[in-house]
Symmetry: C2
Subunit: 284 residues, 2 copies
């Protein structure tokens, strides 16, 4: 397994891989690898000749007062996990290597970025798109893998890749959950024992929403009210948003009459947790 810290090193390795006609897969991560990431890595390993993992805590997707400083950095464990899965190349650049003295160029995806996490984290998706565009240009993957857990990120990146004609296929993997339903996240480590117990309220609220939609509820307001009630009853969490949106442009729907994305973000202690499901209305 090669560990590269510079763009030049990656380019050199990739040029050799390309010349030999191999397919390249890439899993962009911020490190702190958990089973959710590992499911992406394993799929990349299985589907591509050459598997690249990028590990970069991207400062431009954090806002002021967010957890850039405290975000988990666990390179040794990440390295070992990549080695075990058979990753070919880890690209782990410094901030200086990725952004130089000053980055002036930004990629932005309108509309899809504006609701849900985009509303409370206004520069988040601009930072995500910009760093992913950079990584696509450095690694030049044939296939890139992203988790369904970050559903909005997935939709935004799919759109960016299509609109800007990046020659890459975007594949997604289902959210990996703890036994009690909590979606795996690097940020779960911010929870103390009591908050960890409360954190199951997100997936429980989503499960309730799924049941309501499956049993014929078409009013998004009614579903959201039921979700709010569960979160209020079972946690001290502060809701950032609960939204029911269409699957492609992530715009709020007035009526649940086709498959929708139900997504929420909840602050619990210092952690801001997100989760989502897709739900399809009852067939008539």
């Amino acid at each position: 397994m090669i560990i590269a810290e510079t763009i030049a090193q990656v380019r050199e390795v990739i040029a050799g891989v390309r010349a030999s006609g191999k397919t390249i897969g890439c899993v962009p991560t911020m490190g702190g690898l958990h089973e959710g990431h590992l499911s992406l890595l394993r799929r990349c390993r299985a589907e591509c000749d050459f598997a690249v993992v990028t590990i970069f805590v991207n400062p431009t997707q954090f806002g002021p007062g967010e957890d850039l400083e405290s975000y988990p950095r666990t390179f040794e464990a990440d390295r070992a996990a990549c080695e075990e899965i058979g990753v070919d190349l880890i690209f782990a650049p410094s901030v200086k290597e990725m952004y130089g003295e000053e980055n002036l160029s930004w990629v932005n995806v309108e509309k899809i970025s504006s609701h849900l996490c985009g509303a409370s984290r206004p520069h988040f998706f601009r930072g995500v798109c910009t760093v992913v565009a950079k990584l696509f240009n450095i690694v030049t993957p044939d296939i890139a893998y992203f988790g369904q857990k970050d559903a909005q990120q997935l939709a935004v990146i799919r759109r960016m890749a299509a609109d800007l004609n990046f020659f890459v296929e975007i594949r997604s993997c289902p959210t990996v959950r703890e036994a009690d339903g909590l979606a795996l996240s690097s940020r779960n480590q911010y929870l103390d024992a009591d908050q960890r117990r409360q954190a199951v309220c997100l997936s429980r609220a989503l499960e309730r929403a799924r049941q309501l939609v499956a049993s014929g509820e078409t009013n998004p307001g009614a579903v959201i009210a039921a979700m709010k009630e569960i979160i209020a009853r079972e946690s001290q969490g502060r809701i950032d948003y609960i939204s029911i949106v269409d699957n492609e442009l992530l715009q709020p729907v007035a009526r649940i009459d086709r498959p929708v994305l139900i997504a929420l973000a909840v602050h619990l202690g210092t952690a801001r947790l997100i989760d989502n499901i897709t739900a399809a209305p009852a067939k008539k």
Copy 2:
């Protein structure tokens, strides 16, 4: 010479070219090819194994009330000129092919885009960067060629390519001029005979600026005043801007104590003409 109207066609041709190990050069144009473009094409032809010219009047870089509709479209003449130079591939897509139903993803370069043409054409460079990013991803050139005539566009694209890690080298060619000094531009056709005579005031003002700087004038205000005087005396042109800026970030300089870019835009009839030179202060 191949003429491709679809992205899929270009990708197929390029894949074959890549597989044979050839270098790819690209000259992005909006068509209406004149000797300025042809100098770029000839250089591309001479320096690259496979020469691509893109011809696309990009709607996203035109503002409301600008000349999108009347912009010269001269495909047959352009095709013949490309053929004569030995271009390998013309990519001439439709607007629908390039942008689909709705484009949501944009590339923007801050700071460098904000002065000069960016001030009077607020979406111009966003449109330019976005279409050039798309073309880079479709054509995947090793080298791309742009004219010094559009100095700000060149600086913005250089920065975009560097910031977003496009694996392409940007090369520029000097402005090509008529015998009397007028910079070649597709928009010169908008001028009637009298306006055409007046249009030489841009290059004359720049020449005067160069003399002043070379002879020791360090005050940008004095240089700009001299340029304004020439334009007012020799034309009925309405000045959009005259600016003296640094060469990299194109920020106005308070004092001409290093090489600068002197740029101007002047409305003459329905045409908006631009021109620029670089000027170095007198050595001490």
